[in-house]
Amino acid sequence: MNEIPSPSNLIWQQIETLVILLERPRLINQLLAITAVFVLSWVARWAINRLRARLRRRASGPGGRWLPQPLRIIIDQILFSILFILGLVAAVPAFEGLGLPARLIEGAIPFAFVILGYEILVGILYAYGSRAAVRPYHYRVLLPLLIWFVFSRIVDNFIDLSLLGQIQVTSFGEDSLTVGQIFYAALILYISIVASWIVQDVLTRILLQRTSDSARTHSIATVMGYLIISIGIFTAARSFGLSAASLAFIGGGLSVGIGFGLQQIVANFLSGIVLLFEQSLRPGDVIEVNGILGRVERLSIRSAVVRTNDNIDIVVPNQQFLTSNVTTYTREDSLVRINLDLGVSYESDPQLVRDILLHTARQHGKVEKDPAPYVFFNGFGESSLDFRLSFWIRQPRELFKIRSDLYFMIWKALETAGIEIPFPQRDLHLRSGWDSSGVDRGQVPAE
């Protein structure tokens, strides 16, 4: 078993090793050549793209674009790698011709091919998928994998990563925690998060092709995602090699922390699990909570995002859904009844008013035919005949808009039919009589 130096000595040793290696002309020459090829490939790619753009501008029109778009996207993507590989391949005989070693340059060629493979894959994804859909896969999965591969392979040649991994960070009881363990745990967590995200995305796409219940689909995908992350957390904890005693030690510490500072987070977390399994709230539901009307956009383990009609996202902690009254318009069925009250003058024909209201409601595309709209004659008001138009819609989020539309339409229809909507009227009887002399001048008579 190797004796592990102290962390500072080890880090210093690795820096010294790097300095020693960088003192070697054989190495520096090759590294400079690789960097030069890298930079030149980049510049060449930029120049080629400029030239292509200029040529396209000259040959404007559909005929100017002689390559199909997917192919152009792929070429754009892989151009750098191709130039990089060509540059490296050319540099090897050039070095050998000068009697210089070129093994490092040769060693860089497989890396360049790895980059090419990566860019071909990314190019194909962008060529045949939408940018919004591909971007997360590109930046969350493929790019980190490439960076990890290239970085670890390069760095491992210069410094001893395995030795750095053995640096002890802290200890729990009899177990010690090393940099390597932390790294592997983080790697496992990252993989589980990415796997969770991919599974959720793919599952959502597959399920949505078979069912229209997006809310249920989202819930299933979310639960699957959390399951994978939970497995990842468990595996990461196991990779620490923690014994039961150590876990108890950590658990004890965490429980104190939770008791004092994290109770709200834990309450929201548990509420999120309850909401997911109970299915009392699902993404897509139109709800009203604390006076906020909106649609549930996302339901995560800690909070829900409710989007109002003003397109404002409001983050509502999950606990709120369990501890306060929530009005849901779409719990079992998205069918919602809306009532419009209005009054017409006593001179109007009630039958005609009813017909006009029903006809107007039926004319609106978002008013349900079944159940059919209905008009209630609510009574004889102080200054009007009072009616109530009841109708059903399936778009609760558009409640205000549909109601507004109908008011517009009703006003127009009543006006066309010559039916007056009265304003409140009062008959005043003055015991002291009425002096009308000042009225004409717009003056109020003196008492």
Partner: protein, 425 residues
């Protein structure tokens, strides 16, 4: 204003990470260039930094570090970064790193690796003006290729006969005496295999190598030795095995009275047995003379990629570690057999080391190209095929020669001493 190659919303986004990567690489290289540029001038005394890889045990590493610290004390401008690696991986890691221009400036390793490294241009020979007369000739020969000396020898490794003083009084003079002694309940562990069993060729009066580095086509002694082993493999007094560690375990447990082994067993015995129980004697001779074990060397090799200044410093460090004083100190503290012949060994204080030195006089150094793993495996197959009755010794030896020196065999085949492969039954 240039037109974007892809319409907005399609195609891959730009790559800012490429700019960062290029910038970081350029910065790193400029630093390296600056270090290289400022470090290539004439050195004022011995100064600079070098990297040393070794695979010594934990206790031996402390001894090495002491020596290096002493060197740094003498040369305050010099600094040696010593890194200990696993013995199983040090060779392959060096080959991989050195081929890319990386790896240590000095590596302490067995002479077995020298041929491969030299052929791959991974190590460089020492300058001709460096004197090597102070080293035992076989030690130098083991790291000499095409007239160039690739390194400085630190210690020698060969085989001797260990015996358990609680079971036997002393060593045994020859194979016949050994056969008589193990006729009772006593057992002797004999390693078989190219390296482990090589010593018996000399005992039957043969020479494995002919002049000019050719394999001797006359291998009558080798055949006799193989037949002796074949005869004795059914003798319950002998434990014949290719697994040296298994034999070591049996010996340490007191189940074997004798064991043929190298110097690496000695520290293990010291850690397990009382010193007075450990006996070391010369290998038994035979009807043809003294035993001729193989001799290999632990040497300090120099990376071909080191800068001239690093090589100068590395060479100076190696000369320091192999000088009389350090070689003697290393012998005392790690029981290594000094390669420096000026080290005076008190036979009363270090009887085991003395025996190793004595045995090294009859030891054989094979050309480095015959010490590669492939050749050693092929040599081991000679023993396997003969002892299992698949081939007779002559056939097995011819098969070996055909495999490792086909050009010599084709010439010899015309003389009729080793028939071509298709004529071998």
């Amino acid at each position: 204003m240039t037109e974007s190659p892809s319409p907005p919303g399609t195609g891959a986004p730009k790559k800012p990470w490429l700019a960062w990567a290029a910038g970081a690489a350029a910065l790193l290289l400029l630093t390296g260039w600056w270090i290289a540029a400022t470090g290539q001038g004439p050195a004022a005394g011995v100064s600079g930094r070098v990297l040393l890889w070794h695979a010594w045990s934990e206790t031996d590493t402390a001894v090495l570090n002491q020596a290096l610290a002493q060197y740094e004390q003498i040369h305050p401008g010099a600094h040696i970064v010593a890194v200990r690696l696993s013995p199983d991986e040090i060779g392959s890691r060096f080959a991989e790193a050195a081929s890319l221009g990386l790896g240590p400036d000095l590596i302490i390793s067995s002479s077995r690796a020298a041929a491969g490294w030299a052929a791959g241009d991974l190590i460089q020979p020492i300058p001709a003006d460096i004197l090597t007369l102070q080293f035992y000739r076989p030690a130098v020969d083991s790291i000499t290729l095409d007239g160039e000396i690739y390194g400085l020898p630190l210690s020698m490794q060969t085989q001797v006969l260990y015996f358990n003083r609680s079971l036997v009084d002393g060593g045994t003079a020859n194979l016949e005496a050994l056969e008589n002694q193990v006729a009772g309940e006593l057992s002797a562990g004999l390693p078989i295999g190219f390296e482990g069993g090589f010593w018996g060729i000399g005992a039957f009066g043969g020479r494995f190598m002919a002049e000019e580095g050719r394999i001797n086509p006359e291998q009558l002694a080798f055949s006799a030795w193989l037949l002796w082993l074949q005869k004795n493999q059914i003798n319950p007094g002998f434990a014949l095995s290719r697994d040296q560690s298994a034999l070591q375990e049996l010996f340490i447990e007191g189940l074997l009275g004798y064991l043929v082994d190298g110097p690496e067993l000695f520290p293990r015995l010291l850690a397990t047995w009382p010193r007075e129980q450990i006996g070391v004697a010369l290998l038994p001779g035979g009807p043809g003379g003294a035993a001729s074990p193989l001799l290999t060397t632990e040497a300090i090799f120099f990376n071909r990629s080191s800068s001239s200044r690093q090589f100068e410093l590395a060479l100076d460090v190696a000369r320091f570690l192999t000088n009389v004083e350090q070689n003697a100190s290393t012998m005392r503290k790690t029981s290594r057999i000094p390669a420096n012949r000026r080290v005076l060994i008190n036979q009363r204080l270090f009887p085991e080391i003395s025996t190793f030195i004595l045995q090294s006089r009859t030891a054989v150094v094979l050309p480095p190209d015959l010490m590669t793993p492939a050749v050693l495996t092929a040599g081991g197959n000679i023993y396997t095929s003969v002892l299992s009755g698949i081939s007779d010794p002559a056939e097995a030896l011819c098969a070996f020669r055909r495999q490792v020196r086909p050009d010599e065999v084709s010439a010899a085949g015309q003389n009729g001493d080793c028939p071509p492969a298709n004529q071998t039954p």
